[in-house]
């Protein structure tokens, strides 16, 4: 393979990987209850919330964490593309908290519609959803 061909191949691979990440980021949205004051979160904060380490918002309100079932494609994308972790790894972290009696696991919901409804009516709630399912009863949290 010539040097030029290699450079072309690497460029194509890098661009396609960047485009696919950007595409996931644009379709998946992190949503929260209207009562949540935060407008944006660092990715590290989002990871801390979803590993159930961070349990309070900055105003002292309790964070209520919602997740879709482990078999849902949206949940898999949320874990792998956004949090950069396998869904099973995340579950192991929850189980370690739960089975040591030192923490709780997130509330599991069956559908994105249920996720929207519960996040909308639960103070301090956070969840995620594909952008086409959004509605105005929740707010979108920007991930930095």
């Amino acid at each position: 393979m010539t040097k030029l061909k290699r450079i072309f191949l690497i460029t194509v691979l890098v661009l396609s990987s960047l485009l696919s990440t950007a595409s996931i980021a644009s379709t998946l949205k992190v949503i929260a209850n209207i009562s949540v004051e935060e407008e944006q979160l660092k990715l590290k904060d989002l990871r801390s919330i979803y590993t159930m380490k961070k349990s309070l918002w900055s105003n002292g309100d309790r964070i209520a964490v919602f997740v879709l079932s482990g078999d849902s494609a949206t949940h898999k994308d949320f874990c792998r593309k956004l949090l950069k972790v396998f869904p099973r790894q995340l579950e192991s972290v929850w189980y370690r908290l739960v089975y040591s009696g030192t923490g709780e696991q997130p509330v599991k919901v069956e559908s994105e519609q249920e996720m929207l409804e519960l996040v909308a009516k639960t103070p301090g709630a956070i969840g995620y959803i594909r952008s086409e399912n959004l509605h105005d009863k929740t707010k979108i949290i920007t991930i930095k």
Partner: protein
């Protein structure tokens, strides 16, 4: 034993009462909010070429090993929470009492902000030594079927696992890295079945005296490095009856302690992880009557060093494979006997088809006998110290 039964009964009663009476309460009530329960069950089949390894598996396929747990947690009122777990587990034919309250404790945060917390736990609490002791019995939270026996030994698992006392804990988060510390003062909970592990002393009336555990850790559980250092020293009182040559020894004022220092390192990436834990273990017994026997001393101490190194590869969200080396040796100047060493090369794989099911297969190639249960095996120096074990586990969680 009576106290243990009372604790078991009261915990079960509280668990059932809170679940039944308050599950239907309106959300306005402050009492018994966020009621959660979980349960799991597992069955393991083990075959070993020689010796009984956590089952009656000597040259036979054994289905003896099983585990089952039921956990309940609730926010009793405001920030006061309660958690309890009842565990059933069988790894030995001589286990008469398979069901026990693993833990049952109240927890209260004395100070809490978005990034830090200081709190207090009171009751029967798990001894959180190393990275994995707190959740060692739940198949879904561990990597392997059998925990590395060098550090998480099953011979005296119950007597070292949880204790009645008070724990002060705290942490501070730095982004997704957590610095945490805890100190736990307690009275060890003893399992009489496990006194068989020191058969030579024929111990009777083993009782936990006091225990201290201190631990500091830093890092992230799933991304990058996490480290911890644990100091753990439980002390026990025991009555012994044995012989030194023709001289019978009976002493009701004997005691012993175990002192462990565990250094733990784990590095996690998206699709792989490496774990290393090192234990320096000192054990000391005091039998005053032995001081009167020529050539004997009332105080006897022993040391052992142990470590394991394990690599894990995640092929995808369903499949994992792992390879480990697990070793422990007594520290002494003479040659080691077979029951003073343990070198275990092991490998295996896991398959998790969904959130609930877990299937795992594992093979061990072992030199040494020091982590086999004395109460299930008869040892002699003529026996072959090299042996293998293969096992398969099915687990389900709710």
């Amino acid at each position: 034993m009576i106290k243990q039964r009372l604790l078991l009964l009261s915990s079960l009663l509280l668990t059932m009462l809170s679940g039944v009476l308050f599950a239907g309460e309106s959300e306005q009530s402050d009492w018994f909010q966020r009621n959660n329960w979980s349960a799991f069950v597992s069955q393991t089949a083990i075959y070993s070429s020689d010796y009984n390894f956590l089952s009656q598996s000597d040259d036979a396929l054994s289905f003896d090993m099983w585990e089952a747990g039921f956990l309940f947690s609730t926010a009793v009122i405001n920030k006061l929470t309660f958690s309890a777990q009842v565990l059933g587990r069988k790894v030995s034919e001589s286990n008469g009492n398979d069901l026990r309250v693993d833990y049952a404790f109240l927890s209260y945060p004395l100070y809490q902000t978005m990034n830090d917390k200081i709190g207090l736990r009171l009751g029967r609490i798990r001894s959180s030594y190393g990275l994995y002791n707190e959740t060692r019995d739940i198949p879904h939270t561990r990597t392997t079927i059998v925990m590395p026996q060098s550090i998480y030994f099953d011979m005296t698992r119950n007597s070292f696992y949880s204790a009645d006392g008070v724990e002060l804990f705290g942490y501070r988060d730095f982004d997704d890295q957590r610095l945490s510390a805890q100190i736990f003062f307690s009275k060890p909970v003893v399992d009489e079945d496990e006194t068989g592990e020191v058969e030579r002393l024929q111990p009777k009336n083993l009782e936990g005296k006091k225990s201290i555990l201190a631990k500091i850790s830093y890092g992230s559980e799933y991304d990058g490095l996490r480290t911890s250092f644990t100091y753990y020293r439980p002390e026990y009182e025991v009555d012994v009856m044995f012989s030194v040559g023709p001289i019978p020894i009976q002493d009701n004022n004997s005691s012993f302690y175990s002192e462990s220092m565990i250094t733990s390192l784990e590095y996690n990436q998206f699709d792989w992880a490496v774990t290393f834990e090192y234990l320096r273990h000192k054990f000391s017994q005091n039998i005053p009557s032995l001081g009167n026997v020529p050539g004997q001393s009332a105080d006897n101490r022993g040391y052992e060093e142990a470590f394991y190194l394990r690599g894990l590869f995640r092929f995808n969200e369903y499949w994992e494979a792992y390879l480990g080396y697990d070793t422990t040796e007594r520290r002494k100047n003479e040659a080691l006997l077979n029951d003073e060493k343990w070198h275990d090369i092991n490998f295996g794989g896991s398959f998790r088809p969904d959130d609930n099911w877990l299937l795992r297969a594992e093979v061990h190639y072992v030199e040494g006998l020091s982590r086999l249960l004395s109460r299930d095996n008869v040892f002699s120096e003529k026996q072959d110290p090299y042996w293998t074990a293969a096992m398969f586990q099915v687990a389900y969680k709710w």
